[in-house]
Amino acid sequence: MRILVFSHYPDLAAELVSAGSGLGDVSLLATSDMREAVSGIKGAREILICEGVESGDQETLVELISGLASDFDVILLSGDRRGRELVGQVAHRVGGSSAVDASGLSVSGGNLIVERMTFGGKAIAVEELALPAVVSVQKGKFKPLEEGEPSIREISPPSMERRIQVVERREKPKVGVPLDKADIVVAVGRGFRRKEDLKLAYDLADVLGGVVGATRPVAADLKWMDEEVWIGISGVRISPKLLIVVGASGQQQFAAGIMDSKVVVAINNDPKAPIFEQSDYGVVMDLYEFLPVLTEKLRKLKGV
């Protein structure tokens, strides 16, 4: 089976190569501005470099990938917004099947079998995709390979009429270590009564060297924090070593976003909150009482 992979992010491209190598021969596609960034990625049979196309140019990417598709059975893309955006367009252009956010991939009976989370995290669907298939892969599910030096092949850009023009690009303010890469995360929910009180969570995160994330109500509805830190099935999915959930009830869509955490601690004053079911350690207490004590003790322990 022949697999084409592409991502705007080199680290995700490496994961895709790994995911694809379980299915067949992998060709990694990169635009010329990514030449350096992908040079260290191992495990692909070849790297296709397209001169004259810039990685931010989604419209051309659709054209480029769709044009290459006839040589491939499966096209893997990454689960970030731009990756997902390509899936449906490319799939339809090549008359193929599609799925997003695959956590598992295999081949059976001439079909691609995809496992993915659905129903807001309440279910895992196993889907049979006819070939050719275009699929985005969930971040963090496949470990980059350490061996296999790819050959490099230069390809030429597609010729096309452009209908979308990018007139401006604004960096978003950085939020430090991205949530999905953090080892320690403190997640805050509606148990905090005021925005200013989130300081209690930041203090705890500081002591532990972690970052702060939020449930959907806090990030998207109350807008107390940036939307980038919204943890959940349709926000960021995290996989820290330690997650401390403070004042969040544990709604299903949040729960689905924290599933891959190693150790989960819940602090909530409602003993019936579902979050306790999803935690390794639970403290049934008012966060306003408990957090300062916990932070202080950790501070002494760490000597900071």
């Binding site: 970030d80 449906g88 339809h92 997003v100 659905t118 279910a123 895992i124 403290v283 049934v284 003790k297």
Partner: protein, 257 residues
């Protein structure tokens, strides 16, 4: 300018019951409703229409079978967006639709859209599946440009200026209409219809059409199962000092601090 708004009949996942022990997922029992972000798309359509004139039409292809209950839910979901100010609704349902995947649905909706509309708006995903595949496929089927994740939208003449939100940056793009644009929840705050608007919405035209398609779906769901995560579920007792000590001890033993 006439606008089509895609309204997904989304499973209300909040009310979906799953049984951790038996692994049973009670999909049939759960109600359906209009996708949350589809309401933002509807709101944006109403605002554009108020400014620029023309009609805004809701399109739904129901894939939950054609039982009386699912039909009723579909109509209620459409009534809701009509009450927000959309002018008409088209509801496509019938035999075979429950097997339709995004490939088949995109083809069917494209036939409905034809060249009647200059703009198609959709939510970036619906809470039951959150794939965002449909608007992308629809754009490809229609041969129209596609812009996703819109957080603001302006239309002047036949050009739409869209701000779209990506992980690391925002992008402002200009796109020539006709186009398909998917919106995020940040784009606006959907209005809450008044009682009288709901009552009147029920009298707005709702065109029920029979689903027919010669295309075979390309995706088949083989299995649905309940994800399992085993947690220790230890409740730490004691006053705040004791609890904090015990928790720190436990986390040390886990090797995470």
């Amino acid at each position: 300018m006439d606008i089509a708004v895609l309204i997904k009949q989304s499973l209300d996942v909040q009310e979906l019951r799953v049984d951790q022990d038996t692994g049973k997922i009670y999909v049939e029992d759960a109600p359906t409703k209009a996708g949350d972000i589809d309401l933002n798309a509807a709101e944006e359509a109403v605002r554009l229409k108020e400014r620029l004139g023309g009609k805004a039409v809701a399109l739904m292809l129901s894939t939950w079978g054609s039982s009386g209950r699912r039909q009723k839910e579909a109509r209620e979901a459409l009534t809701r967006v009509l009450a927000m100010g959309l002018d008409e609704a088209v509801l496509i349902m019938g035999e075979g639709a429950e097997r339709a995947d995004t490939y088949v649905v995109a083809k069917a909706l494209a036939r409905e859209i034809g060249n009647r509309f200059q703009l198609v708006l959709a939510g970036e995903g619906s809470e039951d599946n959150f794939s965002g595949l449909l608007p992308a496929r629809l754009a490809a089927e229609l041969g129209w440009p596609y812009v996703a994740y819109a957080t603001s939208l302006e239309v002047e003449g036949d050009v739409a200026t869209v701000t779209r939100s990506l992980e690391d940056f925002e992008e402002v793009v200009k796109v020539k209409l006709p186009a398909v644009i998917s919106v995020t929840q940040e784009i606006n705050k959907p209005r809450v219809p008044k009682l009288m608007e709901i009552v009147k919405a029920r009298k707005k035209p709702m065109d029920a059409k029979n689903f027919s398609s010669s295309e075979e779906p390309k995706v088949r769901i083989r299995e649905l199962r309940v994800p399992k995560v085993e947690r220790k579920r230890v409740i730490i007792e004691g006053d705040k000092d004791e609890a904090a000590e015990k928790l720190i001890q436990a986390l040390k033993e886990e090797g995470v601090i």
